[in-house]
């Protein structure tokens, strides 16, 4: 029996690929390319602010090849920040040993900023396919 409520896959359009990609590279840019300027700027300020504060607190940036499962999970969180992570690695920031409680908070700020950016990327995709206004 055919299900009248069955969902059809969203068509692949240029914007449905472009918005998540640029949103990953620069937080909030996925919303800005769809002319959601206010939301995009707020996301840029919140995610970048959290990431930069994490670095200023001497938070640690995880490497992809450490071998420890917790470090790999930390890397997955970090890499969610996209372009911010690339710039940080290229500049060699966030390599200090975590020796203070504040630095541990900073490490968590950086991971969560990456995870929040992944939520932002998913939101940009949902706007692009018309699932959200």
């Amino acid at each position: 029996m055919a299900n009248s409520t069955s969902k059809t896959a969203a068509p692949i359009t240029v914007i449905s690929v472009l918005a998540p990609a640029v949103g990953w590279l620069l937080p909030g840019a996925g919303h800005m390319v769809q002319k959601r300027w206010g939301r995009g700027l707020l996301l840029l300020a919140a995610i970048s602010g959290m990431y930069v504060l994490g670095l200023l607190m001497q938070g640690r940036i995880y490497q992809p090849n450490s071998g420890d499962i917790l470090d790999i999970l930390g890397f997955v969180g970090d890499v969610g920040a996209g372009g911010l992570y690339v710039v940080t690695r290229a500049a060699g920031w966030g390599q200090e040993t975590v020796a203070r409680a504040t630095a541990d908070y900073g490490t968590k700020f950086i991971i969560v900023a990456g995870l929040l950016n992944l939520i932002s990327v998913a939101d940009a995709y949902h706007i692009a396919i018309g699932k959200k206004k």
């Binding site: 707020l42 959290m50 900073g106 929040l116």
Partner: protein
């Protein structure tokens, strides 16, 4: 430059940034987004204060025993 925040101020800043993103991504319409963001922020800060008092009580109990 090294930023040296207290646990509470770090938790409040964490709540601000996370609430902004949650508000924008989990609701539609500016008014709903602002309300949900404030709701999340209240839960973050309230949770921090409640957890702080819970740990204070636990330390009291541990000292008595």
């Amino acid at each position: 430059m090294i930023l040296d925040l207290s646990h509470f101020s770090a938790a409040v800043l964490f709540g601000v940034f996370a609430s902004v993103v949650f508000g924008i991504t989990h609701r539609e319409g500016s008014r709903e987004q602002a309300r949900y963001g404030l709701y999340c922020f209240t839960l973050f800060v309230g949770g921090v204060i409640a957890a702080g008092w819970a740990m204070w009580l636990l330390s009291k109990v541990a000292r008595v025993q």
